[in-house]
């Protein structure tokens, strides 16, 4: 079974620039999550989608972060404008069901460095 695909793997941008990450979940997984993992910390959930609807985005900094999941499959996470403190690994995960357990399948992540 193919895993969760993310791109790019690495991205370096200057502060105040914009960046977008892409995620393709496991086929058939209705729930998709975006996490932010800052070096030395555990992953923090940013947003959770159920199909193409947002279930929870209470921890998403909405002044600069946005995410969408068109057609309930692929998802993009955007940061505009980026700040130095956004440097982190952005993980996408997917699962069959929502609300009962964490996304059990994670992608390799996109490592963002803001300089």
């Amino acid at each position: 079974e193919a895993g969760v695909a993310q791109s790019p793997r690495y991205k370096i941008i200057e502060k105040r620039q914009s960046v977008a990450f892409w995620c393709n979940p496991i086929s058939g997984h209705a729930t998709l999550y975006w996490y932010q993992q800052i070096l030395g910390q555990g992953p923090k959930l940013l947003i959770q989608f159920q199909n193409n609807g947002v279930v929870d985005d209470s921890q998403l900094p909405k002044d600069r972060f946005s995410a969408e999941r068109l057609k309930g499959v692929d998802s993009t996470l955007k940061i505009q404008p980026a700040k130095l403190e956004d440097s982190a690994v952005y993980l996408c995960a997917s699962s069959l069901e929502a609300g009962h357990e964490l996304g059990a399948f994670f992608g390799q992540g996109t490592r963002l460095t803001v300089v």
Binding site: G40, P43, L45, Q48, D56, A93, H100, L102, F106, Q108
Partner: protein, 116 residues
């Protein structure tokens, strides 16, 4: 508010010896507890979970974890460590549906190093 503590940044163990990676949690209500492993340059992989039932949960790769409600702990264990078990381990907690926000909280992670 819910929280997870992994008191050890690093655990060192010799191959063949038993290993324990500690996790304690704080949550109002009944916890859902999870362990994930992160190998270098790989995404997190689910190891096991406790939702209800038997306090001893068995998971992937020979790992198991014991839920102890009185001590609010969910320590990860393996009877005989392998060098290939060397990785970063994360404990996570959330509350069940209907008991509040189910945004999961992860610990900071514990680096397990298994020496040959």
């Amino acid at each position: 508010a819910q929280s997870v503590a992994q008191p050890e940044d690093q655990v060192n163990v010799a191959e063949g010896n038993p290993l324990t990676v500690k996790c304690t949690y704080s949550v109002s209500g009944n916890p859902y507890l999870f362990w994930y492993v992160q190998y270098p340059n790989r995404g997190l992989q689910f190891l096991l979970k406790y939702i209800t039932g038997d306090n001893l949960v068995k998971g992937s790769y020979g790992f198991e974890a014991e839920f102890n409600k009185s001590q609010t702990s969910f320590h990860l264990k393996k009877p005989s460590a392998l060098v290939s078990d060397s990785a970063l381990y994360f404990c996570a907690v959330r509350v069940p549906p209907g008991e509040g926000s189910y945004i999961p909280t992860f610990g900071r992670g514990t680096s397990l190093i298994v020496h040959p």
